[in-house]
């Protein structure tokens, strides 16, 4: 986005002798006020930074691998995603509602948040820059086929493309088609084939 390239400060703003960017001034001022008012503590802030840094698409990949490996799990997952994800041992208590949309040979699904950046963060980690970009949000609902080609994903003309627009309360995630010749592969091996972009709908899983 317009200002993004200029925001490259690697040092902490407080000890930086370079002029602060306007956004940095706002961040430092907000943080210091929240700390002063004891709304947040430094420990909580660090914990949150560590939590985010450790978030990846691993939970999403694990769930998809289970769905590929077990048709019954897949059916239950599509009808009741949160309960089935909890069944795998993940704590979904703070996760907004989730709908998993399943790709078929006839239908390819892709997700967006045209209004902001709503994303199944718990499943996929923080959203990539382009997911939040004005260009992706404006274009994917207009001409998904063309945008997907830019992502290197060519969807055949016979396949319908459905674009799901996420909201603050309801997030979508794509269940990609299982790659061919993965019979009898273990869930852990299947999981390696699942890519983040395949769960957004802008990429394909890896081949075994």
């Amino acid at each position: 986005m317009a200002n993004y390239e200029t925001n490259h400060h690697t040092k902490d703003a407080d000890v930086d002798n370079e002029p602060l960017l306007e956004g940095e001034i706002w961040e430092v001022a907000l943080r210091e006020l929240l700390l002063l008012k004891r709304v947040i503590t430094n420990a909580e802030l660090n914990e949150q930074l560590n939590r985010t840094a450790s978030q990846t698409f691993a939970i999403g990949a694990s769930v998809i691998a289970h769905a590929w490996a077990d048709e019954n799990f897949k059916k239950s997952l599509l009808s009741n995603p949160k309960a089935m994800i909890a069944d795998l041992g993940y704590d979904v208590s703070s996760m907004p509602d989730l709908v998993i949309v399943s790709n078929t040979p006839d239908i390819h699904n892709v997700i967006v948040c045209t209004l902001c950046s709503c994303y199944p963060r718990y499943m996929l980690g923080p959203p990539p820059d382009w997911y939040r970009s004005a260009a992706y949000r404006a274009r994917i609902v207009r001409d998904p086929r063309e945008v997907l080609i830019e992502f290197g994903l060519e969807i055949s003309a016979e396949t319908k493309i459905r674009v799901y627009d996420s909201t603050a309360d309801l997030r979508y995630m794509v269940l990609p088609l299982c790659p061919v010749s993965v019979e009898n592969m273990a869930v852990a091996d299947l999981q390696v084939l699942v890519t983040r972009d395949s769960m957004i709908g802008v990429g394909a899983p890896k081949s075994p």
Partner: protein
């Protein structure tokens, strides 16, 4: 390329919020926004990471101080000019500050004083450096 979903969208910007971007490619082009989707994923800068952490800490999933719908309202009230000019986290910082003031976490006076203090301190450190 067909017309945007709302005819003459870029001349009738007041009829929709600046955040409502779905389908409005011509609007972006009319405002000089690059419509190519850059797939390069830039590392988040430290200040953006902290802004993100504060957003999550204050939200429903964190301390529950700022309701997600209030957050949305605050992040959707930007003018078209500001929305397109400000970066993603700069918009969120402004939205969080507005909500903190609205909910009484701190006052406008406290916010303005703190912001001035941060700016002064930074100028001071600059001066010290050049002495």
């Amino acid at each position: 390329m067909t017309d945007d979903k709302q005819a003459k969208s870029h001349t009738h910007v007041e009829t929709r919020g600046a955040h409502d971007l779905g389908g409005f490619l011509n609007y972006l082009l009319a405002h000089g926004i690059d419509a190519r989707i850059s797939r390069e994923e830039m590392p988040t800068t430290p200040y953006e990471e902290r802004a993100d952490a504060m957003l999550l800490l204050l939200s429903n999933a964190g301390k529950g101080l700022l309701n997600i719908h209030a957050m949305r309202r605050a992040s959707e009230k930007f003018s078209h000019e500001d929305y397109l000019k400000l970066s993603y986290y700069d918009r969120w910082l402004r939205a969080i500050v507005a909500l903190c003031i609205e909910t009484g976490i701190f006052s406008t006076q406290e916010w303005e004083a703190k912001k001035r203090q941060v700016m002064r301190r930074n100028k001071f450190s600059q001066q010290r450096q050049s002495d």
